[in-house]
Amino acid sequence: MYIIVIGGGKVGYYLARALLDEGHEILVVEKDPDRTEYICSDLGSVCIRGDGCEVATLTEVGTGRADMFIAVTGDDEDNLVACQVAKHKFNVPRTIARINNPKNETIFKELGIDVTVNSTDVILENIEEEVPTHPLTHLLDIRDKGLEIVEVKIPPDSTTVGKAVKELPLPKGSVLSLIIRSQKKPFVPTADTVLEAEDQIIAVTTPESEDELTTALRGSTT
């Protein structure tokens, strides 16, 4: 597969390396001459100096035959425009843009970018997982359906300990999929399952009902 990567910073460099290892044809477009030289000396001549938003540069690198176009610079507006040029001028089938400001996610979707990767959110989510006091952890987004898979931990002092699932005021559209309990195999909860302290509950929910779900599952902690 021929993949063009815009931006040869840390993300672009490691992405190019990983894709090269998988055996793809890669070309990195980078503005900075020193950086370009560094990547070329390290990965072979897979990097050219240029502006990834410019039609002339993209023509030169053969964007017309690219299967995928990934823009990972540190500037959201550059990533947006590079992907739009690739999509509308060169008809690249799949465009992926990195987003640095989480607020831009919906805007990029509206403006026709196929896939967005929100680097700030990804880092935040990973840190969240490592912070044990955090009541709700995002595990996975199912973006095209507007759903997400989350994990909620039940602290020992929670008022829902000892209650059955059917007694909990779960928000509409949220489904409890799995309970992970220490010393036991993970199991699918039923309406009669009684919550225990330290249960880890994996649930499918919508971003809007996150808070409601957390409250329903944890009750009030004393």
């Binding site: 039609v55 959201d76 507006e77 550059d78 947006l80 425009v81 739009q84 509308h88 607020k103």
Partner: protein, 134 residues
């Protein structure tokens, strides 16, 4: 007419002044408050510090009630992004945008953004002047 201008450089500040004198409601945005020194002392509109590629700044500038939006920062891509947000997310009836790069301008014109390239316009003007006198 209510107009939001993004970028208070030489062109932005001048356009803001011209519209203000004619009695239009003008809000001008810039990420740097120091740029507002370019506005004339009797400018009657609103000058706001904010980034025109951010929805919140645009809302503060009253984009939801605006009749027109003009993007005039130094960055072509910032202008293009802000113009598309104004047009497709806030449905501003008239959206204009400056793009220095002539090739990019063509593309975004075909995507429905009304864009002007000062590079092309000025070069054309100079050529006509030369031919006229030559």
């Amino acid at each position: 007419m209510k107009v939001v201008i993004m970028g208070c450089g030489r062109v932005g500040s001048r356009l803001a002044g011209l519209l203000d004198i004619e009695g239009h409601g003008v809000t001008i945005l810039d990420t740097n408050a120091y740029s507002f020194r370019r506005l004339s002392p009797d400018f009657g509109g609103t000058a706001l510090v904010g980034d025109g590629t951010e929805e919140e700044s645009l809302k503060k500038a009253g984009i939801e009630e605006a009749d027109a939006f003009v993007a005039l920062t130094q960055g072509d891509n910032r202008n293009v992004m802000a113009a598309q947000i104004a047009k497709h997310i806030f449905n501003v009836p008239k959206v204009l945008c400056r793009i220095y790069d002539p090739l990019r301008r063509e593309l975004f014109n075909s995507l429905g953004i009304e864009a002007f390239s000062p590079t092309t316009i000025f070069a054309q003007m100079l050529k006509e002047k030369l031919e006229l006198e030559g």
